[in-house]
C-alpha cells in the first residue's frame, strides 16, 4: 500500500469517526470540536486530490470562521446538555418508526446499488491532470467565466449579514 492510499484511509476514517461523534454527542461544545476535526481530515483529503487551494479555504473559512461562529453561539446560549427526547417514539405516528426504517433501508440499498454499478474511475496521474492544483487557473476561471456568480455571492453575504443582525437583535422594531 503506497503512501497516498494509506493517507486516504487514515483521513477517511478520521472524518467518519469525527462525524459520527458530532451526531452522537449530547454536548454541543464537543460536537463543534469534533466537527473541526472532521473538517481538518477533509482538508487532508483535498490535498490528496491535488486541491491545495480548497484545502486551505476549508481550514480558514470552515474551521476558522464558521465554526468559531458556532462556538460563540454555543457559549452564548450556554445549554450544555440537550433535554432528553420527550417520549420521541410516542409522539410519532404509530407506524412512523417502521416506515422510517423501511425508507432508510431503501435509501441505503439504492446507494449501494448505484455505487456498485459505477465503473472504476482511475485518476490520471500525468501532469496535465494534476494542473487542477494551480491556484492561477482557479483565479482566472473565477474572475472571468464565473465573474457574475462571484459578484452575486458578495450581495448574498451582505444580505446574510444584515439579515442576521436584524433577526438576532433585541427588542421590538419600532
Amino acid at each position: 500500500m503506497d503512501f497516498s492510499a494509506l493517507a486516504f484511509y487514515v483521513f477517511a476514517a478520521l472524518a467518519i469517526l469525527a462525524s459520527l461523534g458530532v451526531v452522537g454527542q449530547r454536548n454541543p461544545m464537543y460536537s463543534v470540536m469534533l466537527l473541526i476535526t472532521s473538517f481538518g481530515a477533509l482538508a487532508g483529503l483535498y490535498v490528496l486530490l491535488d486541491a491545495p487551494f480548497t484545502a486551505v479555504t476549508q481550514i480558514i473559512i470552515y474551521a476558522g470562521a464558521i465554526m468559531v461562529l458556532f462556538l460563540f453561539v454555543v457559549m452564548l446560549l450556554n445549554v450544555p446538555r440537550e433535554e432528553p427526547a420527550p417520549a420521541l417514539f410516542a409522539t410519532l405516528a404509530p407506524h412512523g418508526l417502521k416506515i422510517g426504517a423501511v425508507l432508510s433501508l431503501i435509501l441505503g440499498g439504492e446507494m449501494v446499488w448505484a455505487l456498485k454499478r459505477l465503473p472504476r474511475g482511475w485518476f490520471d496521474q500525468d501532469a496535465a491532470a494534476q494542473s487542477v492544483s494551480s491556484v492561477a487557473l482557479i483565479g482566472k476561471s473565477l474572475f472571468t467565466q464565473h465573474a457574475f456568480a462571484f459578484e452575486a455571492t458578495s450581495i448574498l453575504i451582505l444580505v446574510a449579514m444584515v439579515g442576521a443582525v436584524v433577526i438576532a437583535r433585541r427588542g421590538q422594531p419600532s
Binding site: 477517511a12 474511475g121 485518476f123 439579515g163
Partner: protein, 100 residues
C-alpha cells in the same frame, strides 16, 4: 490505488451521517452542524469529480458552496438565538406554532 469510487463512497457515508443527525437530534445547533456535514460531503464529491475530469470547476463550485454555507450559518444561528430568547429552549419540539 485510490479511485474516484473510494471518494464517492466516503462522501455517501458522510452525507448519510449528516442526514441521520438532522433527523435524530433534538437540538437546533446540532442539527445545523449536521447540515454542515452534509454540505461538506457534497463538497468532497465536487472536488473528487473535478480532479477526475481534470477541470478546476469542481473547486470553484466548492468555493461557492462554502460562501453559501457561511451565509446559512450566520442566518441560522441568528434564528437560533432569536428562538432561544423566545422560548428558553433549543428543542425543535418547542417550536410548533406553524404546525398544522
Amino acid at each position: 490505488m485510490i479511485t474516484l469510487n473510494h471518494y464517492l463512497i466516503l462522501s455517501a457515508l458522510l452525507f448519510a451521517i449528516g442526514t441521520a443527525g438532522v433527523f435524530l437530534r433534538r437540538n437546533l445547533i446540532t442539527m445545523l452542524l449536521s447540515i454542515e456535514i452534509m454540505l461538506n460531503a457534497v463538497n468532497l464529491t465536487f472536488v473528487a469529480v473535478g480532479r477526475y475530469l481534470g477541470t478546476v470547476d469542481g473547486q470553484i463550485i466548492t468555493f461557492f458552496v462554502m460562501t453559501v454555507a457561511a451565509a446559512e450559518a450566520a442566518v441560522g444561528l441568528a434564528l437560533v438565538i432569536a428562538l432561544f430568547r423566545h422560548r428558553e429552549t433549543l428543542s425543535p419540539d418547542a417550536f410548533t406554532a406553524l404546525k398544522w
